[in-house]
């Protein structure tokens, strides 16, 4: 990885680092944590959690034409306990919110969240009583992918951006 990619851009949220990643612990520990970041980056396992029409695009991203497997993230897990990426693909109803939060809580750390589409980002066109106005009110979001729905290219771009951050050690939980 080139050296300039190692320093996080200033607009990112504060990076949570393991104590062992401190360079004062020695070069071996540092290298090990780099290896850890790299392995996390290269095998993201998203949870199978389709909420609405964005889920169709999410499925298309995983299917043969766009093929997420090229980037090492094709393995959609049916159990949140085996997943480390939650793609919120669609609008979240008030009744669904506790379910989504429970799924997030069941995922083992470190874990990341992508808000896919306008509805997950801010409620989209559903500005009413039934829909959560942005999923960041209930779970921390790492990447927002705009679109209604975003094309598979956009979702793949969002996941790759998240991978770059993970490779730099970015994690929030």
């Amino acid at each position: 990885m080139p050296a300039e990619a190692m320093s996080a851009p200033s607009d990112l949220p504060p990076i949570v680092r393991d104590g062992e990643r401190d360079t004062k612990d020695g070069a071996a520990a540092w290298a090990l944590s780099r290896l850890q970041d790299w392995s996390r980056e290269k095998s993201l396992w998203p949870a199978t959690f389709g909420l609405a029409c964005c889920a169709i695009e999410m499925m298309a991203s995983a299917a043969s034409k766009y093929d997420l497997a090229r980037f090492g993230m094709e393995l959609y897990r049916a159990s949140p306990r085996q997943a480390d990426l939650l793609i919120v693909s669609g609008r979240v109803a008030q009744k669904m919110a506790p379910v989504l939060r429970e799924i997030y809580d069941q995922m083992p750390s470190p874990k990341w969240v992508i808000a896919m589409g306008d509805c997950a980002a801010c409620g989209g066109v559903f500005n009413n009583y039934a829909i959560i106005q942005g999923v960041d009110k209930i779970v921390p979001v790492d990447v927002y992918v705009p679109g209604c729905p975003p094309r598979p290219e956009a979702l793949i771009d969002g996941i790759i951006k998240l991978q770059q951050r993970i490779g730099m050690g970015h994690r929030r939980s």
Partner: protein, 156 residues
């Protein structure tokens, strides 16, 4: 073969029958008569309950208009039943078991209480929800957004 209208006219002379714009015959009854009306329809061959919706007009005293949709599989025709109420209506779940969830939905979103329903709880919204969101005097919810077109709605 006697038609549905003839059955109704024989039992209730002067029944308020009409036709919707799509050609479906409807029968307007008082809310207290819904149970009897459904029994009569069943005897006349109506064997399928299809839908129950409500329309809210807060300017009226009996603000909710219940709209039942039935189907006769022998005669292959649709039939509507309309009734206005101020908040209470008899349940027809005992006559048409399929009306169970529809009545719960109308109760959930409009607050119409169906007397005699075996389990009248919320269907779509969480159990601890306050209010009935499809009533016209309920606030819209969501977050105010300051666009020209939304100023009237939110008063921003």
């Amino acid at each position: 073969m006697t038609t549905l209208e003839e059955h109704i006219a024989a039992a209730h002379p002067g029944a308020d029958l009409g036709q919707t714009k799509d050609g479906t015959v409807f029968w307007r009854v008082s809310a207290g008569m819904i149970g009897d009306a459904v029994t009569l329809l069943q005897r006349a061959g109506v064997d399928r309950f299809l839908d129950l919706t409500a329309v809210d007009d807060p300017t009226r005293d009996d603000r909710f208009e219940l709209n039942y949709l039935f189907y006769t599989s022998t005669g292959k025709r649709w039939f509507r039943l309309k009734a206005r109420t101020n908040g209470d209506a008899p349940s027809i779940t005992a006559q048409f078991a399929g009306a169970d969830f529809y009545e719960r939905e109308v109760f959930d979103l409009f607050g119409v209480r169906f007397v005699g329903h075996p389990n009248l709880t919320r269907l779509l919204l969480p159990d601890d929800w306050q209010g009935h969101p499809l009533r016209r005097d309920e606030p819209l919810g969501g977050e105010p957004v300051d666009f020209t077109v939304t100023r009237d709605v939110y008063g921003t």
